[in-house]
């Protein structure tokens, strides 16, 4: 676009039309949103059970009393997945790489990696939390952790690593074979090819599914409650047991949502950016 370029009348008219259309779609979106919200609110509020539901699930006083404890518990959830996520990432990539090793000496390792993913992907997380949380301490082995938070983290890591390993593996397999051939033809070893060519490209591709697994891990950090630590769900449970009011559960749910929504928007943003880059290529 040069400095002396003056927009033609035709272009100006086109842009005016586009702006008008943009305004129309914006107001259409606003109006329809308002209508939907009003209809839902009226329907819910008009339902016969609403006053009781409002009192037991959306009780302001109950929320205010419980919130400090629930929030304190939620910090434990945050800590749990902040520790679990990096471990899951590293181990998951490791398992995926082991499954890609072709040399015969690595055969036992490869079998182990396959067994591991097959087994742990199949066990429900809640079961694994019970098995690890009560099973490991029961062994009474020297040096095994007894602290329920650590045990909970171990269970989550075991489960999620098997998922994340598969995500990484599909990313690695999606790299075009010519990229491997090109790298090998330059004299790069298998390890160098993985490190510089395959893994960096694979990671870019699997970021959206990985973030999806992380959102899921954040939620499942509440399962550690089964082992007793005072995280958000457990704190809410305590308050509910005292008052028979369920609002603390809603409060805990809102906290989890508040954390996953930004992650979801970030995933969308990354996906949109990747799509744009591919379009430009």
């Amino acid at each position: 676009m040069s400095a002396d370029w003056v927009k033609s009348d035709r272009q100006l008219a086109r842009e005016a039309l586009l702006r008008a259309r943009g305004r129309r779609s914006l107001s259409a979106a606003t109006i329809s949103t308002i209508v939907v919200v009003v209809v839902v609110v009226v329907l819910v509020a008009a339902s016969p059970g609403w006053p009781r539901v409002q009192d037991t699930f959306f009780n302001w006083d109950a929320l205010v009393t419980a919130l400090p404890d629930v929030l304190r518990g939620f910090l434990l959830n945050v800590m749990i997945f902040m520790i679990a996520e990096p471990i899951v990432l590293v181990l998951g990539l490791g398992v995926a790489l082991v499954r890609g090793l072709r040399a015969p000496v690595f055969f036992p390792l490869r079998v182990l990696a396959v067994l591991y993913t097959d087994i742990f992907r199949g066990i429900p997380v809640i079961l694994l939390v019970y098995l690890v949380g009560f099973g490991i301490p029961a062994l009474q082995l020297q040096g095994t952790p007894g602290d329920p938070v650590t045990l909970g983290i171990i269970a989550l890591v075991l489960s999620y690593t098997s998922f994340v390993a598969e995500v990484f593996r599909s990313g690695i397999n999606s790299i075009h074979p010519s990229q491997l051939a090109a790298a090998r033809s330059l004299g790069l070893t298998h390890a160098q090819t993985m490190r510089h060519i395959v893994v960096p490209q694979a990671i870019r591709r699997v970021v959206p599914p990985l973030l999806n697994d992380f959102a899921s891990l954040q939620k499942d950090s509440a399962l550690v409650a089964l082992l007793g630590p005072l995280e958000a769900l457990r704190q809410a449970q305590i308050h509910v047991a005292k008052t028979f009011n369920y609002t603390p559960y809603v409060g805990a749910a809102l906290l989890f949502v508040a954390l996953t929504v930004p992650l979801a928007r970030f995933t969308d943003h990354l996906a949109a950016r990747a799509a744009q880059q591919r379009g430009g290529g």
């Binding site: 075009h176 010519s178 790069l188 160098q192 490209q201 290529g281």
Partner: protein
């Protein structure tokens, strides 16, 4: 002394013999063009020379060392042979400069500043000086292929293999790439090219090899192969 000797090389996929005892010698500074119908085994032969495929019989010697010996480390041999494919050459997540300097730095241990200086020299020599920071998907097809050739050159290979490097390009871009190959010939690079560009092959090759269903049917200087082919199959391929 021959730089490369291919001695009775066989390659089969399942029950299909793709190469049936190919013999070929390439002298230093010689440019050899492989021609032949699609599926005749040109790419397979080049991939065997670069040890991207293992041969099923026969041997290949580079500088009198048998490279098909199972005890040699293929990675070390590939450091001495450059290959450029038809497409999908460049690493899309790296800039042009990183694409070119990767092998010198990681395989040959050249320090980054030195590798980059050399890469910039090469880019300038082939008219791509302003592209060093660009990612491959922002380059035209011809530019991408030129970068791929530069990348193969950056490790100072003894031998350069080019597999139909122009066939994914539209005709206006072909000349950019052919220009590079001409210049490489002038600088004395030993090359084997698989190509469908007959006029270019005639112009640049010292030796033309005609492959037919995995057999090297006829080879000789361009004038002989193109103007007075001996074998009826060659004649059929060239004149239809």
């Amino acid at each position: 002394m021959a730089l490369l000797t291919i001695d009775g090389v066989w390659k089969r996929y399942r029950h299909h013999n793709v190469l049936r005892g190919v013999d070929l010698t390439v002298d230093p500074h010689e440019v050899v063009c492989l021609i032949g119908a699609s599926g005749s085994g040109k790419s397979t032969l080049l991939r065997c020379v670069n040890l991207l495929e293992t041969v099923d019989d026969g041997a290949i010697y580079l500088d009198d060392q048998e490279i098909t010996d199972v005890r040699v480390n293929p990675d070390q041999i590939r450091q001495r042979i450059g290959i450029v494919f038809q497409a999908y050459n460049l690493f899309p997540h790296m800039t042009v400069l990183d694409n070119i300097t990767l092998a010198p730095r990681k395989v040959h241990g050249v320090p980054r500043p030195q590798a980059e200086a050399q890469a910039r020299d090469l880019l300038a020599r082939f008219g791509l000086a302003d592209k060093s920071g660009t990612y491959p998907d922002r380059l035209s097809g011809g530019q991408q292929q030129r970068v791929a050739i530069i990348r193969a050159l950056a490790t100072h290979p003894r031998l350069l293999l080019l597999d139909e490097v122009t066939s994914a390009l539209d005709p206006t871009l072909v000349n950019e790439v052919l220009g590079i190959i001409r210049e490489l010939k002038q600088s004395g690079m030993t090359m084997i090219l698989a190509t469908h560009e007959m006029s270019f092959a005639r112009d640049i090759a010292d030796t033309i090899c005609f492959l037919d269903q995995g057999t090297l049917l006829e080879h000789g200087p361009p004038a002989q192969i193109f103007d007075a082919p001996q074998n009826p199959r060659t004649r059929e391929f060239l004149y239809g």
